[in-house]
């Protein structure tokens, strides 16, 4: 706190509030602190929860809550729900009906109970303020197209529209005709019987979208319809093809038309060859995400290797953010990548098979990732994979001084690994670990560090119940939660490792809405159900 008057000014002027962990602060506190806020973004589940690691809901936003928001904040303008669940289209209907000034409704990656598509018709006919609508997460049920078209038609300030998969290709032309001013557009399903009239209609309407910079959607793509977007490609800065199951040649054709691309999300069908074309065509590329088309297959189904990543790191001077799923890697490639691209701020590598060694030397990938943290001095986010010993953590602790988020799986040999990270990474905010041999020692020795971080997640590691209790007792500003489906942790010996552990700092004290398989380690008894 700099000074009291500044605090007061900030308090009354703050319009946007971001809560990264909804349990770190209570709603009452937020309201008291920022009585004039107009936009709230709430985040719930820890990142690793996205991957079915827990069955615990971290962010339950019920329809009742949405109703409360709608009724209490008449002038509500922006609602962004990220990876939330617990609400249905009924709740959305209330929002639509009540929030006359709503400008932005973004439901990214939410799980919504799709009871009826007609919630869209609850936006009154007089309502015209929508600027951004992201409903891409909604289910594949029938959408109310006419209501959607009318809504889009009357909201002349609409800049972002991301539809869900249920919207068929032949409806898109009509929708776009009503909104040629769109800057970001997400299609629904991009498949239809190939018909020249549908195609030319679509191509024509895309031509009229002069402001379009970002495209997404493209579920079930039929390659014949892709050229319809060529008119807008030269202006595109962002392209999300991560649901587009088209092969490398079609992807290459498409990417070659987009010289101004800054952000590309794509499936590994692009292959090394496609990434090489990307590297030579898209010199402005800043962010690349390559997702696996067959994540559970035992054998590679595409020719995508470390070579593709090396190519883009060499060819794209502005590349700073990467998420890359592949099946092999080498230290040599990682060192090359690090040297080529020291401006990485986000480097997330997922070698699909756990504990995969360097395929050339059969050594661990410690040195490769070590090079990444050594050369990329501004690295904020890192995800590790492959065969890794404690050594990689030594490198990380030594060099990754700006690192804020680290994801670790199937790595390390001993507590020393965890200790390196907790004691060395000065900027660390979020640490998530699964299936690593990290136990009590490092955790307890670095307990104070945990208060400087947003959260720590550990699952399938070796932290004992006794250690959890101790942490809970000694650190009152931390919520220490044990998640275990096997029953109460005190029904097993104290030195038994807990299944999952989630520790986060909080000024709101322990929470009380836990399901029966979550236990908070309290400062009193050490166990609270």
């Amino acid at each position: 706190m700099v000074c009291k008057s500044w605090y007061e000014i900030e308090r009354w002027c703050r319009r946007k509030v971001f809560v990264g962990n909804c349990y770190a602060v209570s709603p009452k506190m937020v309201i008291r602190r920022f009585p004039e806020f107009r936009s709230i973004e709430l985040k719930g589940k820890p990142h690793f929860a996205d991957f079915n690691l827990i069955r615990l809901k971290r962010m339950v936003v019920t329809d009742e809550s949405l109703e409360l928001i709608a009724k209490s904040f008449k002038n509500f303008k922006v609602l962004v729900l990220s990876s939330c669940e617990g609400f249905s289209t009924d709740g959305l209907a209330v929002i639509a009906a009540s929030c006359k000034n709503l400008k932005e409704l973004d439901l990214r990656d939410c799980e919504v109970d799709d009871l009826s598509a007609h919630w869209l018709s609850h936006f009154p006919e007089t309502y015209t303020s929508l600027v951004s609508l992201n409903i891409s997460c909604l289910g594949s049920d029938e959408a109310s197209f006419s209501a959607l078209e009318r809504l889009v038609g009357r909201c002349t300030n609409l800049k972002t529209l991301q539809l869900n998969r249920a919207v068929p290709l032949d409806k898109i032309a009509n929708i776009l005709r009503h909104a040629p001013q769109l800057v970001e557009f997400g299609t629904g399903t991009y498949t239809a019987d190939v018909r020249p009239d549908v195609y030319s209609d679509l191509a024509g309407v895309f031509s009229s979208c002069k402001e379009l910079k970002s495209l997404s959607g493209f579920w079930d793509v039929v390659p014949d319809y892709l050229p319809a977007i060529y008119p807008v490609c030269s202006k595109l800065t962002s392209l999300n093809l991560s649901y587009a199951t088209i092969q490398s040649p079609d992807l290459i054709k498409l990417v070659s038309h987009c010289p101004n691309l800054q952000r590309l999300l794509v499936l590994d069908y692009i292959e090394d060859s496609g990434l090489e074309v990307l590297a030579s065509s898209c010199k402005d590329l800043q962010e690349l995400r390559v997702f696996p088309s067959d994540p559970f297959g035992a054998e590679p189904n595409v020719s995508l290797t470390e070579q593709g990543l090396v190519a883009v790191s060499l060819g794209c001077p502005k590349l700073q953010s990467v998420l890359y799923f592949c099946r092999r890697m080498s230290n040599e490639a990682l060192v090359t990548i690090a040297r080529n691209r020291p401006n990485f701020t986000r480097f997330r590598l997922c070698i699909i098979e756990p504990k995969t060694a360097d395929y050339l030397t059969l050594e661990p990938l410690d040195v490769g990732f070590g090079a990444i943290v050594q050369y990329c001095k501004d690295l904020k986010r890192l995800s590790l994979s492959g065969l890794l010993t404690d050594r990689v953590f030594e490198y990380i602790g030594t060099y990754a001084k700006k690192l804020e988020m680290l994801s670790v799986a199937f790595a390390g040999d001993s507590d020393l690994g965890l200790h390196h990270v907790l004691s060395g990474c000065e900027s660390l905010r979020k640490l998530e670990i699964r299936d690593c041999p990290f136990g009590d020692k490092a955790l307890l020795a670095n307990a104070a560090k945990l208060e400087t971080m947003r959260s720590l997640w550990m699952s399938s590691c070796a932290v004992s119940f006794a250690a959890c209790k101790l942490l809970g007792q000694k650190m009152p500003r931390l919520n220490v939660e044990v998640i275990d489906e096997r029953g109460p942790p005190d029904s097993r010996p104290e030195n038994c490792p807990v299944d999952k552990l989630y520790i986060y700092r909080s000024i709101a004290g322990p929470r009380f809405d836990m399901p029966p398989f979550v236990w908070t380690m309290d400062e009193d008894s050490g166990l609270r159900l």
Partner: protein
């Protein structure tokens, strides 16, 4: 050692060799030794070889025998066990040695559980559910061109079959290859939903048991196990008839199918159910007005069926 992606013949061999060699190791009768370069990557365990690496490079004469053929006794017990709930994997990971890692890398169909271990890891690789679910539908339609067809790997069959039957169990001897199929489950009156892996259950009874444990018991008992362990049989629990499948109970287990209709669970064969279910809902029968005719119908059928 990762089976390399076929990136042509630059090394004419060390990458593509590995996968062929895997075949060789599996079928010792296979006499068609490939013409290979001299250096083969043998999948030997680094027993007593110190902690470094985990692999040995074996020099093999052309067409000659491979240095080491892995048999069941070489493979340590599965590191990423199919069955294990996290408790055992956490203890196994702490005692993990490099030797275990080499065994982990074998991926031929016959190599016991080792090959398929990772495909049953929960939440790995870390791809979000909405991606996996949308992929699942697409994988069926995709022609399997590219790498698989070029390599003529007999494992192709397995992976192709797996791709096209997302909801099903694949049993290759002891190796089980399957994908998870998580669907959401909600119960009336409880805002917090859960997710259950349908592919971890083989029948309605097992599914109902899991759901009862999740929703109908407030304090889980010590002996309770997660849904994924159910497939390995907690037989004592199975003898008790399920509340959820019993028409006269307070609860009805329903599901939403591909067409968006809500149906009672249990009326169609299990495989058909798995291929069409989108989500589950446990309804209180007092509120199941829409389903009343269905429940009545089933009531009559159950009564008239001999038990």
């Amino acid at each position: 050692m990762q089976g390399g992606v076929g990136d042509g013949g630059s090394e004419s061999g060390s990458v593509s060799t590995v996968s062929r060699e895997e075949n060789m190791v599996v079928s010792s009768e296979d006499s068609s030794c490939p013409d290979q370069s001299e250096l083969e990557l043998g999948l030997g365990l680094s027993l007593g070889g110190g902690g470094g690496g985990g692999f040995k490079m074996h020099h093999v004469s052309k067409g000659g025998q491979f240095a080491r053929i892995l048999t069941a006794k070489d493979l340590p017990s599965l590191v990423f066990s199919a069955a294990s709930p996290s408790s055992s994997s956490s203890s196994s990971s702490s005692s993990l040695s490099r030797a275990d890692v080499t065994a982990k890398t074998k991926r031929t169909a016959d190599s016991m559980a080792a090959a398929s271990g990772f495909s049953q890891l929960v939440g790995w690789p870390p791809v979000q559910t909405h991606r996996i679910n949308s992929m699942g539908n697409q994988a069926k339609e995709l022609p399997t061109e590219g790498f698989n067809s070029k390599m003529e790997n007999p494992k192709n069959e397995t992976s192709m079959v797996e791709k096209s039957t997302i909801g099903s169990y694949q049993n290759n001897g002891n190796a089980k290859l399957r994908k998870s199929l998580f669907v959401k489950v909600n119960m009336d009156g409880i805002p917090i939903g859960r997710k259950v892996d349908l592919n971890a259950h083989g029948s309605y009874e097992k599914l109902a048991k899991t759901l009862e444990d999740m929703f109908l018991e407030t304090s889980p008992s010590v002996s309770q196990v997660g849904s994924r362990a159910l497939e390995h049989g907690t037989t004592n629990k199975l003898t008790r008839p399920s509340k959820l499948l019993d028409v006269s109970s307070d609860f009805a287990l329903t599901y939403k199918d591909k067409e968006g209709d809500w149906m009672l669970v249990g009326d169609v064969p299990w495989e058909l159910f798995v291929s069409s279910v989108k989500r589950l809902r446990i309804m209180r029968t007092s509120e199941a007005t829409g389903l009343a005719p269905m429940l009545q119908g089933r009531n009559q059928r159950q009564r008239s069926k001999p038990n």
